[in-house]
Amino acid sequence: MVGKHIVLVIRLLSDRSGGAEKLYIEMANYLVEQGFRVTCLYYEPGQKEPFYKLDNRVSLTNLFIPYPSLGLFAKMNRLLSHALGERSIMPAFAWLNSELPFTLQLKHFFKRMKVDLVLSYLPPANTPSLIAAKMTKTKIIVTNHNVPEKDYEDIKRWSPNPIDRFLRLYLLRYASKVHVLFEHFGSWFPESLQSKIVAIPNYVPDDYFSLESKSIATKKIIGVGRLAAVKNYETLVEAWAVISKEFPDWSVEIYGTGPDEEKLRSLIKERDVTDSFFLMGHTSNVMEKYDESLIFCHTAIHEGFGLSVAEALARDLPVIAYKDCEGVNQFVVDDENGLLIERGSTADSMAVALKQMISDDEMRKRLAGNAKESIRPFSETKYYQKYSQLITEVAGL
């Protein structure tokens, strides 16, 4: 296996701090440690460094074509959409214009650089990689990092182009294996793909299990995540506004940044909880923050894998989350390691759960006591074991 060439493909990488990017970089670092030759490919204008630290033995190449020889497609596209209106053959041109350069670049690379296996991350990279792999007869594993409904059906996620949306699912038949986060997500895919589905959940870093807590927990409720619509932190503000007066010595802290920051700040002001609800921004040591808190609250609408929730559990925090939040309800069990609540049209259920968790010390301690053990199956070691097995199975490496 030493010296075999594994290529990891993602569309956007520069300075991006998302979960999939983190897994991508960590996988590259792991594989190079195992003795593989690893190349990371991405495709975007600009030459910024990746946000996460990449091992310097990994090759990193941006395939971006700054002078697209396909400018013609863009022009035709514009002309046609003027002439024929929105419902023209435009999507075909638009798709070729945005995807063909990347696809051809990948094809050249796979063909000439003796690639033994491709791992592709997120749909914008999956489709071009699948075409290029099919053209060059290269083995490819496609990874999914969200609930399949969201990745393959939701028009708001990824490209709205109907051709792209069709190919995204259609081309999966050319993958050697299709990775999903949970077994349960795999059942969404059509019957013909079932034999290719492999479920490997994400993991909680080993440190979270092994390191002793250095801090003393105070009366704090913590939330960790991007400040974006999908994380639904407004509900938490609303819920806290209902009960904050009853618990003056408690406070809520949210770690993360994002597009909704201003909106949330004004909502906090409006509900008059500025003295107990804090947006803390980015932190470099989130583990310490978990240790300083007593309750983890997660309001997200859906998750692929709620990593912050899993990390919080590993640091002995009981969790409050919504029952219908996929990717969290897979490992948070109601009344075992947290409270799973019904999603109503208001924040009331959240307020009730928070109140219960704060006031019932005994229950809180019981749930916290189960937290760490409940998340053990999602360890780093297991994650890499499963991936190694997968790579061996697909490419014989």
């Binding site: 460094e49 090759s59 002078y67 020889s69 670049q105 990948l106 000439r112």
Partner: protein
């Protein structure tokens, strides 16, 4: 104490080897050198001479003998496999270092380690280009800007392995030389390095630190052209990142380059055909080339 492996491929040129070894002995850098010579199937009498020279050399020497002539890329791969020290420099039998080369390049590496903390670094340097029987001309290596593009153009930054000093890991990381390439394997190797996240740095002073004894005699123009197009196709994903005009100019350059070799070797017919190809590739540039 830091040790540098000096990797030297040798083929039928004991005098050149002696000159190269002398220039290693004269380095004013204080560390140790370990000289690794890979003989690529030289003639028996010349190999004997080379062995005598190596025996006379005062310092650690390793000689690897290949019974048959394998060609430059394979010889270099054997040398790569025999790296034992933390740092590596390359030298071709027949070329020379000036005494300050290693010291100044180490300074450059240590300086850039801070700046490019997470990257593999190669240190290159300016050098003299001495035509056999002609005058020396100093060539600057300019590492600013897009290094991949500079390497493709071959003007500001030229792919010459014997200008390099670097950590052994920075070579091991990149892997082997492409054994398909009888010529220009340096270019392929440099392109891979620069495009995959490696950083080439230079000493910073314009004075030359080594000398390359250059001759067009015996170089096969057609072979050079074929090797170039092999590289061009292999790195198509890199070349296509630049404009069609840029690529046209690169193809034109290589035809003219090959024509020059063919001219030096008196191969007039092939030279004319190569000129024709250059003309067809870029007619205006060909017509207004003077």
């Amino acid at each position: 104490m830091v040790t540098v492996d000096v990797l030297i491929p040798h083929y039928n040129d004991p005098e050149g080897l002696e000159m190269s070894l002398k220039s290693i002995a004269e380095q004013d850098w204080k560390g140790d050198f370990r000289v690794v010579v890979c003989d690529d199937g030289s003639k028996a009498n010349l190999l004997k001479k080379a062995e005598d020279i190596l025996n006379a050399y005062d310092g650690e020497v390793v000689l690897i003998k290949s019974p048959v002539n394998l060609g430059r890329p394979k010889t270099r791969n054997i040398l790569l496999d025999n790296i034992a020290s933390e740092y590596v420099a390359w030298l071709d039998a027949g070329d020379e270092w000036y005494p300050t080369k290693t010291r100044l390049q180490f300074d450059a590496i240590y300086r850039s380690m801070v700046r490019y903390e997470n990257k593999n670094i190669w240190a290159t340097c300016s050098y003299d280009w001495k035509w056999i029987g002609g005058r020396a001309r100093t060539i600057q290596q300019n590492t600013k800007g897009d290094q991949v593009q500079s390497l493709m153009m071959g003007k500001d930054l030229r792919a010459y392995l014997w200008t390099l000093l670097a950590k052994a890991d920075a070579f091991k990381w990149l892997g082997k030389f492409d054994e398909e390439l009888l010529r220009l394997q340096d270019l392929d190797y440099f392109l891979r390095f620069a495009s995959q996240g490696g950083q080439i740095v230079t000493v910073g002073s314009p004075e030359p630190l080594c000398v390359y004894h250059k001759s067009d005699i015996g170089r096969n123009g057609v072979e050079v052209k074929n090797c170039f197009f092999y590289i061009y196709n292999k790195h198509k994903y890199l070349y296509s990142q630049y404009s069609a005009k840029f690529r046209k100019n690169r193809r034109y350059d290589i035809y003219m380059h090959a024509a020059r070799f063919l001219d030096s070797n008196g191969d007039t017919l092939k030279k004319i055909s190569m000129n024709g190809k250059a003309f067809l590739t870029h007619p205006t540039r060909y017509l207004f080339r003077f």
